[in-house]
């Protein structure tokens, strides 16, 4: 199926969003849904403005973003380093892949009780959980990327007497880059989820804790404002990484 011309597509897309917004507006003005559960778009917008200007929301937003990015960055570094070491050796791959598969299949949030037991309800605990949980997608993707390196390139590296480090740097990582970037994008969504859950459980100042408190005291506009901001973080981080991916992989398409 051919795509519509961009102008038509965006026109219709914006129309779709407007219709959705109107439906939201009507549902609240006609009281189709109790207002405690669904505040009007205007009330949400006001709560968002108030929260960001006078309230604490900007700080909470920053806290969540910081937790997510720091954990994700740590996880990415560890994952790429360990993934490269496992990836270059077929033997290490054969022995470790099943275990890594098990660890990835484990819901990352299930490690939260362990982390609480080990570290206590502290900022370190949240960071540890975010890091630990978001390691696996990138780690497995790195191993996978190394496993898929063209065998002839490996022969070339042998013929050139490349050291292991040189092989990782000059052949392995560039070839595994598409897989690694996809893994890092997945890791980012995991990191955001774990940062939010961690804030809820460990009472760290952030959007996770903010929306939980808003819901408990039935301040629904604040709750929706928090959800909007979390959606924004999710969208910006995902599209940002997609842009980076496209830039970094431009050489591949030529």
């Amino acid at each position: 199926m051919t795509r519509s011309p961009p102008a038509v597509r965006f026109g219709l897309g914006i129309a779709g969003v407007v219709v959705l917004g109107l439906a939201w507006h009507l549902a609240t003005t006609l009281q189709l849904v109790p207002r405690v559960f669904l505040p009007s778009p205007e009330a949400t917008w006001k709560a968002l403005q108030r929260g960001l200007s006078v309230g604490d929301m900007a700080n909470q937003f920053g806290g969540t973003v910081q937790r997510m990015l720091l954990g994700w960055l740590l996880a990415s570094i560890v994952a790429i380093a360990i993934g490269s070491l496992i990836g270059i050796s077929p033997l290490a791959r054969a022995y470790l892949r099943p275990t890594l598969g098990f660890l990835r299949a484990l819901p990352a949030s299930a490690t939260i009780p362990i982390a609480i037991a080990l570290v206590g309800l502290s900022p370190t605990m949240v960071l540890a959980v975010v890091t630990f949980g978001s390691i696996w997608p990138t780690l497995l993707a790195t191993v996978q990327g190394f496993a898929m390196v063209e065998p002839r390139l490996i022969e070339v590296s042998r013929a050139l007497h490349m050291s292991r480090l040189a092989f990782i740097w000059k052949i392995g990582l560039p070839n595994a880059l598409p897989d690694i970037l996809t893994g890092m994008r997945l890791s980012m969504t995991v990191a955001l989820i774990l940062a939010v859950i961690g804030e809820m459980l460990a009472a760290q100042s952030g959007l996770g804790q903010a929306i939980l408190l808003a819901a408990r005291s039935f301040r629904t506009p604040d709750l929706y404002a928090g959800i909007v901001l979390l959606g924004l973080i999710g969208a910006v981080s995902s599209y940002g990484l997609q842009l980076v991916e496209r830039r970094l992989l431009r050489w591949k398409s030529h």
């Binding site: 219709l12 559960f37 022995y95 949030s109 009780p113 362990i114 819901a215």
Partner: protein
């Protein structure tokens, strides 16, 4: 063949078993007594105890009830919407922006909302699981419909099939392998989200059992539940993968590399 399999199994188990044995030895030799750590042997007997007193079965049943209902609702709606936007370019144009705005919302952000509307229990968990599984089904169904061989669509036009019967007789069978992939990924997501809901707030199921073991300082039980949850995740993934291969391996259009 059998030898290769035995070798594979040996390699898969070698590292974890060695680690567990060393851990057990360290624990016994140093005479640890801890609120957070437990040797594998203690975790295993805690597991048997949880099997015997029925908590394991109850918790597993509760988690699966939420997981399956949420998956059925979210996956069903995602499948239906995915078919619509896969078929109709207009519907796709009108909805893509809204989808791109709603999809990045992390599912856990809806947890407080679900808690406020439904209170504790199955319904709030099902709501969050359904939201989380809706998107992968929507996107994968749409791309599955897109990638159906255009000539098959032409055939259905020539035969004058109505949209519903064209969907049932031509598009769904052709898109089946990709839909199966959606089911596998969706099930994984559903398990993660269900357990997360239980850990964060909902007092039932495996996640809550895990959290409760930590809060009551029973580390052996905590590790037992953790391994059980991991085993469920792995088993679900591997068996759906097997099913996928078994169902579609004979088809020329089945790309085994997507199933890794």
């Amino acid at each position: 063949m059998i030898r290769a399999r035995a070798l594979g199994l040996f390699r898969a188990l070698a590292v974890p078993v060695t680690v567990l044995v060393l851990y057990e030895l360290w624990f016994r030799l140093t005479g640890q007594d801890s609120d957070t750590l437990a040797p594998p042997s203690a975790a295993f007997s805690a597991f048997l105890e949880a099997v015997r007193d029925g908590t394991l079965a109850t918790a597993t049943g509760q988690t699966f009830a939420s997981l399956l209902s949420g998956l059925a609702i979210g996956g069903g709606l995602g499948l239906a919407s995915g078919l619509v936007i896969g078929f109709s370019r207009r519907a796709d144009d009108a909805s893509f922006l809204a989808i791109e705005m709603l999809r990045p919302i992390p599912s856990v952000a809806l947890l407080p909302l679900a808690l406020m509307i439904f209170g504790f229990g199955y319904r709030m968990e099902i709501f969050v699981v359904a939201f989380a599984t809706f998107w992968p089904f929507l996107i994968l169904t749409q791309s599955a419909v897109r990638q159906v061989e255009p000539r098959l669509i032409e055939v259905s036009r020539i035969l004058g099939l109505k949209p519903l019967s064209a969907a049932r007789d031509i598009v769904l069978p052709a898109a089946a392998p990709r839909l199966m992939t959606a089911l596998r990924l969706g099930t994984g997501i559903a398990l993660v989200v269900a357990v997360t809901c239980e850990i964060a707030s909902n007092p039932q199921g495996l996640g809550h059992a895990l959290m409760l073991s930590q809060e009551t300082l029973r580390p052996a039980r905590m590790w037992a539940f953790l391994f059980w949850i991991g085993a469920i995740g792995l088993t679900l993934n591997l068996s759906l993968l097997r099913l996928e291969r078994w169902l579609f391996a004979h088809r020329g259009d089945y790309d085994a590399s997507v199933a890794t």
